[in-house]
């Protein structure tokens, strides 16, 4: 890997010069560099897995060492991680759990979802030396540059990672304002960073850590998110910005409570799970026509990406949850519903994200 040494910088200058690019045409210098070390690249952000540890039975914590193309992240943002499984590249979004000031490494904690191809693979097969692709960090679930005096960080399940990053970043910055960290889990052994959180609470008197368990009674709190929980651990909740990340149920509760209290402008949320891809109650109608391959299939009600794959096509895709736009295709005719926004696109000739779009009647797409 390139280090910050002068020779490495010089090497980068030479390798990135127009002369080298002309000599390596048409493939480019990167196509040679990556054969020497898979994470070497002049342009692409990649990382090598440096450490793999297990904090809970159903998650894995990876420490990645990124190459120089990694531009860092703002705490709370997510990164698209690309891994190769049985010859096929898959990309998923994960939020780093480390401080945004962590130098030279990024930490991710990935919970194994029962049907999660990538999360299952990382839990099963991640080992030091493995190389993964990184996107630039993205997302607006971030702390304001002027850190607020009072802060409420709430998470559920695997949603702990971006708020963990926020807490670590604040501690790293020596932030003096009050921070309440409220995390929901089914049981005690499902909480990654449990020991680290306890230590931070001891070391930083302004940090209060509360763990709530929904299936056990030995936490700070018991049960699901409620107004009482919030009041019990964060008396200043009515004037503190709250950052909430977790499964849809937690997000909905938070939205309801903050709306009822008339302070929804203080609430910032990030949901981790993809929207349900089946539309309950809607019987699929019409047919899907793939213009380029001239295939016509009956609409099954699944996403257009899935329907295209079932028809034997292999459209490009990335996150499969409506984030990365790799799968964006031209819809030439018909209507589709976006499962994330609920919006219906009915105009002809519109670009749509086929991974989160389901046909509403007959649809033709340029595939």
């Amino acid at each position: 890997m390139f280090t910050e040494s002068t020779t490495a910088r010089l090497g980068r200058r030479v390798l990135g010069s127009p002369l080298l690019e002309a000599l390596a045409a048409p493939h480019g210098v990167d196509r040679y560099l990556e054969l020497i070390r898979p994470w070497w690249s002049l342009h692409a952000a990649r990382a090598e897995v440096a450490d793999v540890r297990r904090q809970t039975g159903d998650s894995v914590t990876l420490t990645l060492r990124p190459n120089e193309n990694w531009q860092g992240f703002s705490t709370g943002q997510f990164v698209r991680l690309t891994v190769e499984i049985d010859g096929v590249r898959h990309t998923r979004c994960y939020s780093p759990a480390c401080s945004e000031h962590a130098a030279g490494h990024i930490e991710f904690t990935v919970k194994a979802h029962p049907e999660g191809k990538v999360s299952g693979f990382l839990n099963r097969a991640a080992r030091p030396g493995m190389v993964v692709g990184l996107s630039a960090a993205d997302g607006d679930f971030v702390l304001p540059a002027q850190r607020p005096d009072h802060l409420l960080l709430i998470s559920g399940g695997s949603g702990i990672t971006p708020v963990m990053s926020m807490l670590r970043t604040l501690c790293h910055e020596g932030h003096a304002g009050a921070v309440t960290f409220l995390h929901y889990a089914q049981t005690r052994d499902r909480v990654p960073y449990r020991r680290g959180l306890a230590e931070m609470a001891i070391r930083h008197p302004n940090v209060r850590v509360a763990l709530a368990y929904t299936r056990e009674a030995d936490g700070t709190l018991t049960g699901h998110l409620s107004r009482e929980h919030v009041r019990a651990v964060a008396p200043a909740a009515d004037r503190a910005p709250a950052y909430v990340c977790g499964p849809p149920g937690l997000i909905e509760s938070a939205r309801r409570i903050w709306a009822e209290d008339g302070i929804e402008q203080l609430l910032h949320v990030e949901s981790f799970l993809p929207p349900s891809l089946a539309l309950p109650g809607d019987r699929p109608e019409g047919s899907v026509s793939f213009a380029r391959t001239r295939e016509l299939v009956p609409n099954t009600g699944r996403s257009l990406l899935e329907q295209a794959e079932q028809a034997g096509l292999s459209p490009q895709f990335g996150c499969r949850m409506g984030i990365c736009h790799t799968c964006t295709c031209r819809k030439t005719a018909g209507s589709v519903r976006n499962l994330v926004s609920g919006e219906i696109s009915s105009a002809d000739e519109e670009d749509i994200q086929i991974c989160v779009s389901v046909p509403v009647g007959d649809v033709e797409i340029d595939l």
Binding site: A22, A25, H27, R31, E84, G87, V88, R89, Q316
Partner: protein, 380 residues
Amino acid sequence: MTTTVPKLTPEQIESFGEELDAIRQRVVADLGERDAGYIRKVIRAQRGLEAAGRGLMFASFFPPAWLGGATALSLSKILDNMEIGHNVMHGQYDWMNDPDLSGKAFEWDTSCPGDQWRHSHNYMHHTHTNIVGKDRDLGYGILRMSEDQRWHPYYLGNPLYAALLATFFQYGVAFHDLELERVTAGKATLGEKRDMIGAIWNKVRQQTLKDYVLFPVLTGPSAPFTLAGNATANLTRNLWAFTIIFCGHFPDGTQEFTEEETAEETRGQWYYRQLLGSANLTGGKLFHILAGNLSFQIEHHLFPDIPAHRYAEISVEVRAACERYGIPYNTGPLPKQFGSVVRKIVRLALPDRRDRPAEHGPRAIPVRASERDPLAAAEV
């Protein structure tokens, strides 16, 4: 030489097509690590040969280094164009979702811009294989490769044009999609082709700069030797690619078709035409890799987007199916197949002898059910 083409009923052709579909589905379902590992191994070998070849040229004043360098570069260009470029650009590895192996984006080490190749080859040639007047790979708009192309005194030069095309094959391929014969025939103007010409110019310039200016100059005193070595590598690749490609559709026994007889093809009939219009080459594993597995031209034309290193195993099943249906499976060693191509190039330079029967039957494919001969169907 006349090859008898079996008279299959439309039902037989469709069931043959279904068997091929089943083979395809089985292979596609099995794609994975093995295929990804294979293509990356070939790429690694190609880039290694490229680096070694360029490196050796710095000592190219020393004859063994020159020979080693020219050989390594020849092999690099052959692998790049055939087993990697041609196959990746067919989308054979699109399922990997790796942007560097995307059929839509890949660029290869030759003068032809990838985008134009994708049109002229993947679409025009593979869809309209061996249809006279539609498949421009039939003679590349330069040669007469079928009796169905009307003779003209211009074609007296057929062998000469073929030799020139072989020598400068990368430029022949580069200009292929321009359809210059339509310009000379007044059916298109150069002005309409300005964007394409610009793209070709950029690619030719990039390739020329690298092979004939930058690398020679960098090797200092060895410059003339390096230039000669790079030219040799390009020439070797040109001759090899021409040889393999012309053995794909022109050896004795391959069929050509007319637009009318293929107007309303079914999927089964399309498969059948691909099979009758293509010919394989026999050889060892290394030969097939260097041929980009186009030595399995039949399997390639049946399944153009299946990773080519699978063709060898697929060919066993395809051949068995052909035997069951009595469909000829055209294959032979390189000298025999190429010999027959050369004879055809020479023969077609001259006007057709009137007493000689046409090369192929007028109806290789039963196109419409109404044209079926009920007796022939009953006999099978």
